[in-house]
Symmetry: C2
Subunit: 317 residues, 2 copies
């Protein structure tokens, strides 16, 4: 059982590296910091190293100032490197990592068991849930700073306890973390009150293009280069816009048509339930999943829209 | 201790009315149905009576078809009426209610102890949390249909576990309910995928009016009568629009200026943390709380805006 083995390894060693994937998200950062603060409080030496800086959303996470940004491991004297939330050795984008003993902790089914120790629990909703169990197993007390980080990890990776992966155990871990000092409203505030002004401006512009077909089941929105210029928003700010039309009760499928340059368009499709948009994307050389896919098309906007609608209409009959 | 008294009363009686406040929300409906389904499964006769129909959001709640809509109690033969989530006897807007023995269950500090039994637990995040404890105390098993209703009650009254009132006990109750068969993604789907098309259109129009002051801490949006006409949205669809500017990281206070008719404007203020907008509203004859207030102003739009900004600037220095 890897959990007990890893806990024993911790008790018998002193110097650790902690890392996660490049372009870290809330689960990566919260898990890393929760583990690192725990190891530190147990008297271990710990370096947290990431390839990329954290999004400003996470600036208030306790201990965030500990994270070093680098494209290589600082040295090779670590007893082991904890690699969290990564499917393979390449995800952290840290040179020299392969020369260390690796403890691989992940909850994704695609994990490639690349470590010397591999603990992969696909029933966990977030790596943060696993780190909580590991600290308990290792006898390391979970204080308010650790609990706050692990709560943010759970909160972000479950979409505030709304995604399908959310289990009774997830909520129980969340309850334990609140008891240990995590504040649920802190997580909500840093995640949901961190929008840039430009993003909300862009949201308004894009939503004024919202239209639907006569059935009310297909909706679409459009993004032009001019909207990006006028709002001052960047490409990252376009993430999530497609969810607004999808929140309309009758809508089953949404097309988000983004103008590139010179007559090229990026089409993102989102759907609910069994409506399969992956097949549509494949037809145009794109890819994705049942409920989320994307592809490129060239032409005039009206032609592109009509081509897309022709493909979507049969899906919602 | 009222909880045990109420549980004993249930075991000794057979016929109950269950109600909640007029214009019921998720906590009212989920609590009512959770309790009613529990009483029914324990072999009791139960009527659920509300003054108003439920919002379409809640159409999929198990047992929702049981609810009778009326402005009076159906008869006076009930052993008792459960009144949930109500500060006083007037909130359900049911004539004849005062002639029944009343069991008052609420979690608001303003409750006026109007019942024969009064169980008011201000530490509960939702009435649904209290109903769960009551069913357990009464020895009534919580099945998947009951659990689903109580989960929706908790989920809606805590803003999906994000408001300040969310405690370890709230999350533990949520975990118990998931174990009993509630599906976290069901609650998320019915609550967040129930927007009318017209509301999302209106959101776009209103957000294109978003502006901010040079400090970036004050933002404002505007609603005109023409936007309502053009989008087809109604007054209820304007609820929550003010939260979008408030989600901007630097913004500390938001003014939402709604055009009435003939030069009248309704001004809603929202703020973060210690920024007190109640005092501003009081100055103009309005009311509210520290972080949410409102008042009326007459004049031209530009004058009204400037008057409001003059009041807000000192708050964010």
């Amino acid at each position: 059982m890897s959990l007990t083995e890893i806990a024993r390894f911790i008790s018998q060693h002193d110097c650790f590296l902690v890392t996660s994937h490049a372009r870290p998200d809330g689960d990566a950062l919260g898990s890393e910091l929760g583990l690192a603060l725990g190891l530190h409080s147990a008297g271990k030496k710990v370096d947290v190293v990431n390839h990329d800086p954290h999004p400003s959303t996470y600036s208030e996470l306790p201990g965030i100032e500990r994270i070093l940004i680098s494209d290589r491991v600082p040295h090779l004297e670590y007893d082991a490197a904890f690699v969290l939330e990564c499917g393979d050795m390449g995800r952290p984008e840290l040179r020299g990592l392969e020369k260390l003993r690796v403890i691989n902790i992940d909850h994704h089914i695609t994990n490639q068991n690349f470590g010397e120790f591999n603990w992969n629990d696909t029933s966990a909703a977030a790596a943060g849930e696993m780190i909580y169990r590991l600290l308990r197993q290792a006898g390391i007390p979970v204080d308010a700073r650790i609990a706050t980080n692990l709560y943010v990890a759970l909160f972000t990776d479950t979409g505030s306890f709304q995604y399908r992966g959310t289990t009774a155990q997830t909520l129980e871990t969340a309850a334990d973390l609140v008891r240990a000092g995590a504040d649920p409203s802190f997580a909500a505030r840093i995640i949901y009150n961190s929008n840039p002004y430009e993003k909300i401006r862009l949201l308004g512009m894009v939503l004024t293009t919202l239209r639907r077909d006569p059935s009310g089941r297909i909706a679409w929105i459009r993004l032009t280069q001019e909207m990006l210029r006028e709002s001052g928003a960047n490409k990252a700010d376009t993430e999530g816009l497609v969810n607004y039309p999808l929140s309309i009760q009758e809508v089953q499928v949404v097309a988000f048509i983004r103008e590139g340059g010179e007559g090229s368009f990026r089409v993102s499709l989102r759907s609910k339930g069994d409506v399969d948009v992956a097949a549509v994307a494949h037809r145009f050389g794109g890819g994705g999943h049942v409920n989320a896919s994307g592809f490129e098309l060239n032409g005039l906007y009206d032609e592109v829209l009509e081509t897309v609608l022709q493909q979507l209409r049969p899906l919602v009959i």
